[in-house]
Symmetry: C2
Subunit: 477 residues, 2 copies
Amino acid sequence: MKKLDKITPQNEDFARWYTDVIQNGDLMAYGATKGCIIFKPLAYSIWENIQAKMDIEFKKRGVQNVYLPLLIPESLLQKEKNHVEGFNPELATVTEVGGKKLAEKFFIRPTSETLFADLFKNEVSSYNDLPIIYNQWVNVLRWEKTTNPFLRTREFLWQEGHTIHSSSEEAIEFAKTMHKVYKDVIEENLAIPVVEGCKTDHEKFAGADITYTLESMMKDGKALQSGTSHYLGQNFTKAFDITFKNNENKLINPYGTSWGTTTRLIGALIMTHGDDRGIIIPPKIARTQVDILEIFNSKDERVHKLALELKDALLAKNIVANIDSSNKGPGFKAANSEIHGTPLRIEIGPKDIENNSVLFVRRDNLEKITSTIAEAANIASLLLQKIQDNLFESAKQRLQNNIVTVNSYQEFKEAIAAGHWVYAAFDGNGDDEVKIKEETGASTRCIPFKEPIKVSNDTCFWTNRKTKRFVLFARAY
Amino acid sequence: MKKLDKITPQNEDFARWYTDVIQNGDLMAYGATKGCIIFKPLAYSIWENIQAKMDIEFKKRGVQNVYLPLLIPESLLQKEKNHVEGFNPELATVTEVGGKKLAEKFFIRPTSETLFADLFKNEVSSYNDLPIIYNQWVNVLRWEKTTNPFLRTREFLWQEGHTIHSSSEEAIEFAKTMHKVYKDVIEENLAIPVVEGCKTDHEKFAGADITYTLESMMKDGKALQSGTSHYLGQNFTKAFDITFKNNENKLINPYGTSWGTTTRLIGALIMTHGDDRGIIIPPKIARTQVDILEIFNSKDERVHKLALELKDALLAKNIVANIDSSNKGPGFKAANSEIHGTPLRIEIGPKDIENNSVLFVRRDNLEKITSTIAEAANIASLLLQKIQDNLFESAKQRLQNNIVTVNSYQEFKEAIAAGHWVYAAFDGNGDDEVKIKEETGASTRCIPFKEPIKVSNDTCFWTNRKTKRFVLFARAY
C-alpha cells in the first residue's frame, strides 16, 4: 500500500490535478520508453472492461476478430496518397535486425487500413463474399511530439474495425451503426455523455470521405474525441485494386469503413468524473465496485467475519467487493478507497455489529447512508445504480450548460477564452479553421447530428454569409 | 464460401498436409509482411478461447494484467548479459521516425523481462509490497530465419507473466503453479497431452536458472514446446538493482519468475488432432461446436424451421451451432464442415422430419448416430463430451506408444530416425547436446518430472557413465 500524496485541486491547476490523480490512483507509471506509459492493473482493468462491453456489441453485429501484422512494408503504406501524407511524420520505422540493415523498411502500424486492404484483395471476388466485417484489438504507434498519459501517448491500445461492402449505402449505414455502438457503450457504461456528429473536411481522417465522431467534455471544459467511425468510400479499394462482381455481373470496387476507440477513453473517464479526492470509476466499468473497510482500534475477528459475509452477499448479487483489513487508520483507508475511485464503500466496526448497522459512503457525492446488515447487499445494489446514473446526469448537465452560441468573432473569442464550447453557424473552409485555431486554440469538433442548443442566427460568425451548416467548436485534448 | 482444394494426405507429406489444412480451413493468410501471418477469424477465435480459459485461471491465482510498452530502449535490454546475447540476432530495431534518425535505438520486444524489471524497481521497497504478480497479453517479435504458420512466425501473440517474490522458495513454487495451470488448460481444453519437466541448462531460457516446460507430440512424431515457466532467481533483480527490506530489515534482491504461452498452441492443436479431411477443433475450444446442415433438393421451409429450433435448443445447453442453409450439395456441406474442424455436425432433411429423427456425424471418428428430434440437444451434449475425451485419449495413446528407450547411441540414432521420442539415461553436457542435434536432428526436450516409460538402464547412451538423470529427446518444431 502506497503513501498518498497531496492532490492539486482541479480549479487551481487542472493539468497538475490530472497528473496527481493518475499517479496517486496507481493507474500508470512512466517507464524507460519516452512518450509511452505503463498501464498498471487498475487502468488495465478499466480497458479490459471497456473491451468486454464493446466486443459483445461488435459480435452481435457480425464483427469477426482477426489479427494482422504489426509491421507495414514501406511500399504498402504508400499506396493511398492522402493516408500516407497524414501519418508520415509519426511513423516509427524498423530499418535493421540484429545490427544488419534490411532491404526494405517497415513501419510500425499507426493504423491498419493498408494491411486490411491488402488482405481484402484476396478475400473477395463476388457480391456473395460481401460484406466482410473484421476487427482487431491491438497496439499502434504514432510518434507524437507532446504526450499526455492515456490521452496522447506514442503507443496506445485500441480496436480498429475494417469492413468492405457491396454498396455505398450499406457501408455508410454500417459506419453509423458502429458509431451508435460506441455512443451506447460510452454513455451507458463509462457514464460519459457525448455529442454525435460529422467532422468537417478539414478535420476528417486521412483517407476518409466521411468521419463520424463522438465528442465529450472534460471537467475543464475541453473537448475529447472519444470514438470515430469512417466511411472510406472507394479510396482504399481503388488504390489497392480490390474488385468484385456485383449482382449485375459488373466488376466494381467495394465500399469501405473503418472505426476505432482507444485507451484514451481511460483519460476521458478520469477527467469527466474525477474530483479533488481522486478518480471516480463508474460502477459498470469498475473492477471493484465496493470497498469494505474494517474500522477498529485493535483487530477484531467479529468485524473481519462480517466483512467476509458482506463480500459473499455482494458477490451473490454480482457485485465485486474488496476488503481492507490492514492496520491503517480509518482516515487513511477512506482516502485510499477514494483515490482509487471505488464507487462505493462500506465502513464496519465493532459498534456497527452491536447496532446491527453498516455505513455506506458514496464516492460520487460523499453521501452517507446506513442500513441493517441483512439489507446491506440490496442497498449496495440500489446505490451503485444511483451512482452510475448520477455520474452520467451530472456530466450531461455540465455539457449542456457549457455550450453557448455567438453572433460575432469577437464573441466567439470571448466564449472560447472562458472555456465554453461554441455552437454556431459557420461556413468557413479549412484555411479558416486553421486561422481560428491559431488565434483561439479552438478547433471544429463536429457538425452535430442534433442541435445541442437552440440557435436561430444563421449568419456565419466568420464569413458573415448565411449558411445552413452549424458547427461545434472547442479547445480539445 | 470458398472452393475447397485437395488436401495432401498426412502420411504422404505431413508438412504439405499442414499447409493445405490451414489454408483450406480458412485459418490464416500470408500478407505483405514476410515471416508474419494474418490470423483469420477461425484461428483468432481459437486464440480468444485459449485466452479466456487461461485468464480465468490466472486471476484465480492473483495475477493482475498490465500493459508495458512495445519498444525497449537499447540501453535497457543490455543490462542482463545472458538475456541480450540470447535475443540479439533476432531484434527488429527502430532507428528512425518520419525519415529522421533517432538518438537512441529501440528494439521491438522479443519478451519483456527487462521492461518489467525496470518497472519493479520502483514498485517495491518492503516485503509488504511482495509478491508482485503481473501478466500481459501482447504481440512480440523475433526475426526468425525460417518460419512456419502459427508454429514459428516473426511476430506472434502470447501472454507473458512476470513476478517477483521475497524468497527463492516462493518464486520456484509460483513458477511451478503457473506451469501446472498451463498443463491443465492445455490438456482439459485443447485435449493435448503433455510431458512435464525441466529443460537442461543448454536448452533453458536466456536469463533463467530453471525452465519448466510442457512438451507435446504432433502426429508426425515431432515434439512441440507448448508452454514454459521460468525461475529467474536474482538474475534480473541484481542486474536492475531491485531491492527490498525483508522481515529482518535486511536489504536483498527479490526472486523472479516469468512464464508464457503463445499462438503456437493453435499449430499444436492442428497437428495433434487434424486428419486427412482437415483440422479438428476440440469442443471446449471451438467457436462453433455444431454445424447444422440443411439437406434438400429444393429449399424446404420445414427443414429450415427445424434447423432454427435445434440451434435454439442447443444454445439453451450452452452449445453454439451454425446453420448451413446454402444451396450447395450435401457432399460439399459435409466437407466444408469437416475442413473447418467443427467437432459435430447434424444433417437434417425432409425425410428426417417425417421420421422424427436427426443424424449426427462426429468429426473425430466419423461415427454416425441418430436420435429423435426432441432428444437431439441432449445427445449433442453427450457426444461433444465424448469427442473431447476421445481426442485427448487418442493423442495420449499415440504419445505413450511412441516413446522408446535405447541402450546405445546407435539405437538412439535409429529410434530418432524412425520418428520416436527417446527417454534414456543421459549425463552429457551442452556441447554433447549440440553434437547429437547436428547428427540426428534431436534435441533434449526435458528432464521429465515423472518417467513417461519405465527405464532401468542407468548408463548414459552417450558417455557410458552411470547417471541418475533421465532425459527425453526428440526432433522438434
